[in-house]
């Protein structure tokens, strides 16, 4: 089983650290959500975990091996990182885009093998994208596009899946479909999955663990019920939250209530 660890990780751009001494160990088969206010370093952390940015301190290890000692291509065979691309601007076909996920295996110059093609076809099939194989990605809806990004990550056959805002701009049905597909994949292939989320109410039902970032570090780390509290969210987001168990699911439901006009300050 893969273990994915951040050891006293500091990350940022140039010499400016956005996050300091972040440590955690993630295990296979679990979905971890990273939360935090805008600009707290969620994306920076994901990029550092995927070796797109060098750590300013500390290290990232897969099964105790530091990823900075691995070749780029070896990292890309283990970690699939889907950066935020809100709308594609180049009309690759869906199957061409998903095929990019084979590059860490096929290399940059060799033609794709029969095995590569099988993996591409099954990734498309897995997300119901087979009918769209020849469709330009620029003509997809937001939900279809997020599925294409996920299919490309799957074609990479990774051990670790890092998704930046996979539910951005999706309506509730597509959010549900996407997150269920991610959960199914995690279970099927015992992946280690990390997603950044903005919608706090998606966290309770879908994540096994939450890492809450703010003020340059980790504010809380644990199961959703322990992290999604008025006190901790208030500290992270500098806002007044109301948290209560959801009447149907029982997982923490979060709102920022509008100030009551009846109450005089």
């Amino acid at each position: 089983m893969t273990t994915f660890t951040a050891n006293g990780l500091s990350c940022g751009y140039g010499r400016r650290a956005v996050l300091n001494s972040v440590s955690f160990t993630l295990h296979a088969g679990a979905l971890t959500a990273i939360l935090g206010p805008n600009g707290c370093g969620k994306t920076t952390l994901l990029k550092t975990l995927a070796r797109l940015l060098p750590p300013l301190g500390g290290s990232v290890t897969i099964d105790r091996q530091s990823i900075s000692t691995l070749r780029r291509r070896e990292v890309a065979r283990r970690i699939a990182f889907a950066p935020q691309v809100l709308a594609p601007d180049w009309p690759f076909t869906v199957s061409e885009y998903v095929a990019l996920g084979r590059s860490p295996h096929a290399g940059w110059w060799k033609p794709l093998t029969a095995n590569d093609r099988t993996v591409i076809a099954s990734s498309l099939h897995r997300f119901g994208l087979t009918p769209f194989a020849k469709t330009p990605v620029t003509e997809l809806s937001g939900g279809e596009w997020q599925r294409v990004r996920l299919a490309k990550a799957l074609a990479q056959e990774p051990r670790i899946l890092l998704l930046d805002e996979p539910t951005a701009h999706l309506d509730p049905r597509f959010q549900f479909e996407l997150l269920s597909q991610v959960r199914e994949l995690i279970a099927e292939r015992s992946l280690t999955a990390v997603v950044t989320l903005h919608d706090l109410n998606l966290v309770g039902p879908w994540a096994d663990r939450v890492i809450l970032l703010a003020n340059g570090g980790v504010i809380a780390d644990g199961p959703p019920a322990e992290v999604l509290t008025t006190a901790k969210l208030g500290e992270a987001y500098a806002a007044t939250f109301a948290v209560a168990p959801h009447p149907v699911t029982g997982s923490p439901a979060v709102v920022v209530p509008r100030p009551d006009p009846q109450v005089q300050p």
């Binding site: 990029k47 990182f81 950066p83 061409e96 860490p104 940059w108």
Partner: protein, 323 residues
């Protein structure tokens, strides 16, 4: 299509030949010597040169559009044109004799200037450490700067204005010996374009986004550098033999895309072929539209290419709107 364009280009001109006359001239040593001279010494090398320049500009345009993720990028976007013009003008004004009679001092100057300008742009933009977009900004700055140098040099040598004009407007009549131009530009363009064609998958990854490419393990800095070197050598070779021929490198990738799709592995070579067809036809027009005088090739490509480009853009956006 390229073959048809080439055949037309060899046959047509101020003296019109039939295809069978051309064929005779090429295959029979005892054919009419005048026809034979026109075909083998003038038309054939000229058409080949047009094709070579077109391949270089079209393929380089497609590669740059991928690297810069910008549909408006053309082969001159990072200074090749202004550098070439500055190099050519410096040689024309200074009266330097050059290193070889056949290639010509001005062509050497243009090639050197073109490569020098790209190098300057690359260094100013932080040698690949910044995003690819910073190369575009540095390219625009260096282009303006070198343009100013050109006009300043010209202020000291107004009588040379006509010959400089040809470099800036482009034309394939710049070299004294067209076969020599083919022999020099051919290998440089072929080498550069071959490298670009082999980079299909890396270019696709770059086109998908810097972070996406890095996440797939692509050494982005190196790929950008290799593309820059290959494309700018090919483009500098075209500038050396044909001056600054605008628009072909911008338009060819957009015309090629509806034919073969967006993937660079097919798009780059097809854009090269489309560029060759366009340039062979444009050069044919440049030398046959006016009976006694050759027209500037760059003006023809822009004049004819502009409307075609607008039609393609319109059709594409209508197709997208219909979905």
């Amino acid at each position: 299509m390229l073959l048809t364009a080439l055949a037309a280009s060899v046959a047509l001109g101020s003296a019109r030949l039939s295809l069978s006359e051309v064929w005779d001239a090429l295959t029979h040593a005892d054919a009419d010597p005048t026809t034979r001279a026109i075909v083998t010494q003038i038309r054939l090398p000229r058409s080949l040169l047009a094709a070579i320049v077109g391949v270089g500009l079209g393929a380089a345009g497609a590669a740059y559009q991928a690297v810069f993720r910008n549909p408006l990028a053309d082969p001159f976007v990072i200074g090749s044109a202004s550098g070439g013009a500055a190099g050519a003008v410096a040689v024309i004004v200074s009266g330097w004799a050059g290193v070889s009679e056949a290639i010509g001092a001005t062509a050497t100057g243009a090639f050197a200037g073109s490569v020098f300008a790209v190098l300057l742009v690359y260094l100013i933009a932080g040698a690949g450490r910044g995003p690819a977009e910073s190369l575009l900004l540095a390219g625009a700055t260096v282009s303006t700067l070198l343009g100013a140098v050109v006009w300043l040099l010209l202020a000291f040598a107004r009588d040379r204005l006509p010959s400089v004009m040809w470099w800036v407007m482009g034309g394939l009549n710049l070299s004294r010996d067209t076969w020599a131009a083919v022999a020099v530009a051919g290998p440089l363009v072929a080498g550069g374009v071959a490298v670009l064609c082999s980079l299909g998958r890396p270019l696709d990854a770059l086109r998908a986004g810097d972070d996406t490419a890095r996440a797939l393990g692509l050494p982005v800095r190196w790929v950008v550098l290799v593309v820059l070197v290959a494309a700018s050598v090919a483009v500098a070779a075209t500038v050396a033999v044909g001056g600054v021929i605008g628009f072909v490198g911008l338009v060819a990738p957009h015309l090629a895309r509806p034919l073969v799709g967006a993937s660079a592995g097919r798009l780059v070579p097809t854009a090269g072929l489309v560029g060759a067809v366009l340039l062979v036809l444009a050069d044919l027009a440049a030398r046959s539209l006016h009976p006694s005088q050759e027209l500037p090739l760059g003006a023809i490509t822009a004049l004819a290419g502009g409307p075609v480009f607008l039609v393609v853009l319109r059709t594409n956006s209508q197709r997208r709107a219909a979905v």
